[in-house]
Amino acid sequence: MPNTQQLQDLTTQVRRDILRMVHKVNSGHPGGSLGCTEFFVSLYQDIMDRKETFDMDGIGEDLFFLSNGHISPVFYSVLARSGYFPVDELNTFRLINTRLQGHPTTHEGLPGIRVASGSLGQGFSVALGAAETKKLNNDKHLVYSLHGDGELQEGQNWEGIMYAAANNIDNIISTIDLNGQQIDGSTDDVLPMGSVRAKFEAFGWTVVDIENGNDIDAILKGMAEAKSLTGNGKPVCVLLKTVMGNGVDFMMHTHAWHGKAPNDEQLEIGLAQNAETLGDY
């Protein structure tokens, strides 16, 4: 298992990948991707028990589902750097005939992706279905999922959240990326959601807070706690407080970079703030 420094090194490399991917095609979503970089790196390099090779059924390993599919750049970078497909393929992000579609999909057969996402609010249901099948298969591995906070405005989430507790689905850890931003502004301005913690608790979930969701040690500690709470008859939710655009100073604490690519100059500034540790693709 990699040590914290190795995870940190991978984190800056993944940020470089994200910036270069969206810059090249002048499209994509860097803000949320950068905010969740530490989480993805921790998940794939440390937290999940996963096989080296990919098969759709994923029996005998932990599974991950990304519900807020627009943060595909971080997903693709971490999948590639975790060995699911060649790192060079990141060059094809959003280009015609690519397996790295704007939003993740199984349609082109990209290893590591188990369901399409992008149209928001569908990931809870899919992840819960996979968790039900793990139980039927007597597979003791866990299902992880990630959702945006703004995404919780979609009603289907709450159908799934209600179902999970009612059916004691306790082999799932669903993480909410609480960055407080969405396309039109802060979540508090667009549609204030009140206490997300209180909502999940009212729906019967066990809730774990990770106050600094951009700190690898905090993520590892919080996720270990979440894991220890599985198997107790209740689904587990992690509230991961992140900073959108983290690691690139001019992209931080704003929704402006939700779905906007940096220009040449901005790219250079961003890259200068993130060391090339493992070699650019």
Binding site: D57, I59, T106, Q122, S125, A127, L136, M162, A166
Partner: protein, 318 residues
Amino acid sequence: MKTYTNTGNKDTRSGFGAGLTELGQTNENVVALCADLIGSLKMDDFKANHPERFFQVGIAEANMIGLAAGMTIGGKIPFTGTFANFSTGRVYDQIRQSVAYSDKNVKICASHAGLTLGEDGATHQILEDIGLMKMLPGMTVINTCDYNQTKAATIAIAAHQGPVYLRFGRPKVANFTPENQTFEIGKAVRLTEGNDITIVATGHLVWEALEAAKELNEKGISAEVINIHTIKPLDDKAILDSVSKTGCIVTAEEHNHLGGLGESVARVLAQHHPTPQEFVATNDTFGESGTPAQLMDKYGLNMDAILKASEKVLKRKN
């Protein structure tokens, strides 16, 4: 002319229930989900026999579709059950992204399709579902005609890899196809041979087409009746072979003429063998309350409507 005997009216949804019961015994990967309509969908037996493989999701169809998509990951074959309206229009985007685009092996089983659920009215009827489902890339669309065929289709779709929309209905209708038949997805069934007119029908309209063919036969007109249980993929060859002999065609379905079987047939004909065609289908309208028979009469979806359409298309023949 070959004739068919109604062995006793039965509802197609009960055929689905019987098929699901059999699958429960023969295929341990089959799981079933229902959105608070177990009795209406005839899923009681499966639930009683296999409680661990039955999932009551409550009145939450969007979640049901997503759960089903997720359950396929790890090898399960989920059958979802609710009314056709709530199986399609209500959850179109969930089916589109989580099932069809993701190529998940989900069987969307939809009862109370068309007008014939009757008195509940237009909110619970649907005349657009075939169109909605056939437009989704990779989706197989099946509309069965009677109890026996619905049972056979239910069993057959479990062995088919990929998403399927299986459409059936509420009322008790003639049961006339063979018991324990083999159901071949995408293969039309020629019920009668004829030379003067082709009648292609799906679902509840198949029996009406056979009744119409009998009437036509008495007038000296020989009708070839084809049961198109699979609307997608369509058996182009069966249709083209028939019209190349008869030279005219009537399509009949319990669905809007926009987006239904008739339009699929028209596309095949326009490309390969332009042929006069008349449509027995609803005319861009919602349904309403009434008995099934009253509704089928008012909206022109019965034997009489097929006879009228036949008369019209025969006149258009060169």
